[in-house]
Amino acid sequence: MGKDECKTMLDALNKVTACYRHLVIALGSTSDSQNLREELKRTRKKAQELAVANRTKLTSLLKDKSISKDDRAEYERLWVLFSSSMELLEVDMKRSLEIGQDFPLKVPTRHLIQTGMTGSTTTVAARAMSVQNMKYEADSNIDTADLRDLQCEISQVSQMMEEMEMKVQVAPWAVEAKQEAGAELKSNMSVGNSSVGVISICEEEPKEEDGGGNRDAGFASICAVLVFFVIVTVAVVLGYLVINMS
């Protein structure tokens, strides 16, 4: 059905927007590299494709006069989601142009900001492109060549957004969100791919901030110690039994 299709496409666009933002945040820092520029380029292109697809689908759905009121409200909600995504994407693209121009890669004395991030962003880009591994095949002057493409794409996106504003008469403030406050907590989001304790320990510098964090850290370490002792006891008992057997 139209709605589900729309929703999946919007989810995809949302995912790519989020990943693009992560990539742009890494621009200019020590995790910036040739690969990052290429990742940015490909993510951007994917975002644009998704945007165009979304837009055509949504405009055709909204232009249809024969839909019910509920349907229309739903489509307007999806439209607001789409336009907010596009706004974020546009701002990020413009910023990436600015930062990309300020931090060229192929200069003899390049000073990237030492932010402490040194890892690569391959996994983020792979998530955006929905592939397992990224293959890098760009030329070495991607940092300057890409900027021109980026400028064109920015103007395309701006144009698209202006057209959207003109053609589709949706009042964004009239849309009611389906999620209430705190909805993000209700989903089955695992807080980390490791246990709670490890994350709290890693946040060591904000030690004074969380009494809760501290408590958690203490609790987790006690747990770990207990488990360790239990295992050691079991091993000793088994060893004793084995020795007794033989």
Partner: protein
């Protein structure tokens, strides 16, 4: 539509330029140099080690060395860097101060640098709070909770987007390695401490009032504001009594009132400077009473004096008393606009229609469209011809250029003793009114006759209820 960033912001909320930002960015790049920049050391956490941490004392020392200033000055400077958000503290992240000891700081990534062009959006803040909510499992700080509730209320239509985007950004962040993830969280948190400071702290990003014009926008094509200003200054420079000598002498300086008597509103022979001013623009010519007289003389010769008379009548209506407004409007209509009027003015059909309709319920500005039309007509047509006419050339020839007074000190003292007040404004106004009455009585008959003959040839159609009152 939704309010977006300043580039499409029609609400004219423009942030003033913070010139220091670009300069700080240059300095920051210098600090990154591996040889001559600030020394960095790794920060050891329990499991991970994160590089590129700098100590407070190192930064201050580097800056003092770079600019050759003393430590206190360097410390003030670095505290500004921290307050703006270019460097953030790793311990005690809520207080953006620089501690001149071994406490650790780190550089902020360029995306999170403060910029003049990109305002800090509430949408981003909402997404950040939602992400923090996820991470802290619902336990936000008090001010963050308040912000969250407020944003949820007024940004409700976007809330689905906020939640979706927060979840996606959270998942995307998890894709990175552990040290990078920690760094990213610290960066984002520092960014929001700068731009949404906790209560009781002062933000360095307070810039006062917004501007009315966008400092980033390209100037209007053609003449920019600067060009116009330069042109104005160069034109009027020699006419400004502050910037150049006024002839014969500045009455305020020499107590000699010749300058004023030579430049009276209805003087016979104007000064050269005055006549020169009439050539600068049509508005100058009209605003000077002597210039207007000259122009009136010229128009009389051309038989198009009714334009100026109409314009003056409109001005009178606009600035006159409310009690006499209705009669004035009627008089103007009868004299200039009605069919068969003695001094009929030539305006286009649409304007005439609008004006006549408005005259049914006259108010101060009812004749504005017609007045503008006539003004532009005079400006484009008559003004040019006036400047080439014998009337004007005559005036220019006759204009006087008084000699500059050279008073000795003794004479200046004499002048000071002889100071007298000038004519009372009441008397001046009476003189003005007498003159106006004289002019109204002296409407040129030849003009009227020629107009009447023209009317027969033209066909003008407009409806007016007032026509019934006309003969």
């Amino acid at each position: 539509m939704t309010i977006r960033n300043t580039l499409r912001d029609h609400g004219q909320r423009y942030r003033p330029r913070m010139a220091c930002l670009k300069k700080v960015e240059k300095l920051l790049l210098e600090m990154q140099d591996p040889k001559t920049g600030v020394k960095s050391q790794p920060q050891r956490l329990v499991i991970t080690t994160i590089p590129h941490a700098i100590t407070g004392e190192d930064i201050i020392a580097w800056l003092a060395d770079r600019f050759q200033v003393d430590t206190q000055e360097a410390r003030n400077f670095v505290s500004m860097l921290v307050a703006l958000g270019y460097i953030y503290p790793l311990q005690d992240h809520r207080r953006l101060v620089i501690k001149p000891d071994a406490s650790l700081y780190r550089f902020q990534t360029p995306y999170f640098w403060p910029t003049q062009q990109w305002p800090v959006e509430d949408t981003d803040y909402a997404i950040y709070l939602a992400k923090r909510n996820i991470r802290k499992r619902g336990i936000l700080e008090l001010h963050e909770q308040e912000h969250y509730n407020r944003l949820h209320k007024w940004m409700n239509h976007k809330w689905d987007f906020v939640v979706m985007q927060a979840k996606e950004q959270y998942r995307a962040a998890k894709e990175r390695k552990k040290p990078d993830r920690v760094v990213f969280e610290c960066q984002e948190r520092a960014y929001w401490v700068v731009h949404r400071p906790p209560p009781g702290t002062v933000s360095a990003m307070d810039y006062g009032l917004d501007r009315l014009t966008d400092p980033n926008a390209d100037e209007v094509t053609g003449e920019s504001l600067c060009d116009l200003l330069v042109k104005y200054c160069s034109t009027y420079k020699s006419h400004d009594p502050f910037l150049s000598n006024c002839l014969p002498s500045n009455p305020w300086l020499t107590d000699d009132a010749t300058y004023w008597s030579l430049n009276m509103p209805s003087v016979e022979i104007p000064t050269k400077m005055r006549v020169e001013r009439w050539t600068f623009s049509f508005a100058e010519l009209l605003s000077d009473p002597r210039g207007r007289d000259d122009f009136r003389l010229f128009l009389k010769k051309e038989f198009s004096g009714e334009n100026l008379a109409f314009w003056e009548g409109c001005e009178d209506l606009k600035w006159g008393e409310a009690a006499t407004m209705r009669e004035k409007a009627e008089h103007i209509y009868k004299t200039f606009l009605a069919r068969g009027a003695p001094r009929w003015i030539n305006i286009d059909g649409k304007t005439m229609e609008v004006t006549v309709k408005g005259l049914k319920h006259p108010h101060r500005y009812v004749l504005d469209p017609a007045q503008t039309h006539i003004y532009m007509l005079m400006k484009k047509d008559s003004y040019g011809r006036y400047q080439k006419s014998p009337v004007f050339k005559d005036t220019v020839k006759k204009a006087i250029c008084p000699e500059e007074h050279r008073y000795s000190d003794a004479q200046l003292q004499q002048n000071a003793k002889k100071r007298r007040p000038s004519l009372s404004p009441i008397i001046l106004r009476q003189m003005e009114q007498e003159q106006r009455a004289k002019m109204a009585a002296n409407v040129d008959i030849t003009q009227v006759m020629s107009k009447l003959s023209k009317q027969g040839k033209e066909a003008h159609v407009f409806s007016s209820g007032r026509d019934q009152k006309q003969s």
